[in-house]
Amino acid sequence: MSNRIMIVDDNEYVRGSVDIICESAELDLTSAASGAECLERLESGFRGVILMDIMMPEMDGWYTIREIVSRGLYPGNIIVMLTGMGEPDCKMEGLQEYVSDYMTKPFGPDQLIESLQYYLTLLSTVRNHE
């Protein structure tokens, strides 16, 4: 069972903002500045709610999710996309089942905390045979 959050964003300001919000709600946050760092954290055992920026250099959010899935690292995680844009483009096709939510920056602290707490509740639920 996990109660952790990971922010994946190349923008230090966004990572810092999410850090402050999570700290105020006593949520355990880890930060990754790139898709590659996100994968490293997952390979090291992170499981929880992943807040994933879409527009990142080298490995964007969609590519990172495809890597998460292909490496078998998705189970036990919930993925929420973060974007400064409007609605997603066709890069999301085929990934709908893995993306639980889609939040447009800037987002309010209350909205983020409420969403994260619900997703953490979902992750804390396990089947008897899990």
Binding site: Y74, P75, G76, I78, M81, E87, P88, M92, E93, G94, Q96, E97, Y98, V99, S100, D101, Y102, S115, Y118, Y119, T121, L122, L123, T125, V126, R127
Partner: protein, 190 residues
């Protein structure tokens, strides 16, 4: 109204919180609710349990061969398409993705036939893509009532927009008003 009322809801990204808001506002109603959310097998049970925590009606993962009963909410499991035989019996099918997803809303809605008695209601909520649009058109052709989530309240307006663009949607509403419309259309179970 007859006891064979059926409500089929299609939803994708933004779905967990939208479904939570919708079902938290619904009293027990005289209909079977079938939810098709684009979801993986790793998450389906968790979503069902999350909904069960807020809904006034029991929530279960739909099982192959199961008959839908009024006053219950069924979530289509991940990894399968779900069809309804005779609008009542669950048939889980393997096979290719439809609209890039599995379960696909269109597969479920297109399996419906004209209700001999009772109401049939189709709803498309937030999500990327166009899954559910053909299904909504079909439900309208089968004499059903159709709804789509409005743009302002949608996390992603793709699926509701595609449904609305078919011209077959009766009501375009936010989740709380969809709940109100369902209460208006269906009898409460006391």
């Amino acid at each position: 109204m007859s006891r064979n009322n059926l409500v089929v809801i299609g939803v994708s990204t933004g779905g967990p919180l939208t479904l939570k808001a919708l079902f938290a506002g619904l009293p027990p109603l005289n209909a079977a609710f079938l939810v098709v959310l684009h979801i993986t097998p790793q998450m389906d049970y968790r979503i069902a349990q999350g909904l069960a925590g807020v809904a006034s009606m029991p929530v279960v993962l739909a099982q192959d061969g199961q008959y839908l009963r009024r006053g219950n909410i069924y979530l289509a499991p991940g990894g399968f398409h779900l069809k309804l035989d005779g609008n009542q019996r669950v048939v889980l099918c393997e096979g290719a993705r439809v609209n890039y997803v599995q379960p696909a809303v269109d597969v479920t809605m297109l399996s419906l036939t004209r209700q001999l008695s009772g109401a049939m209601i189709g709803i498309v909520l937030t999500g990327m893509g166009k899954d559910g649009a053909e299904g909504i058109r079909h439900i309208k052709q089968m004499g059903g009532v159709t709804m789509a989530q409005d743009q302002q309240s949608s996390t992603i307006y793709g699926m509701p927009k595609a449904a609305v663009q078919t011209g077959a949607v009766d009501f375009v509403l936010p989740p709380n008003r969809i709940a109100g419309k369902l209460v208006e259309l269906l009898e409460a179970i006391t």
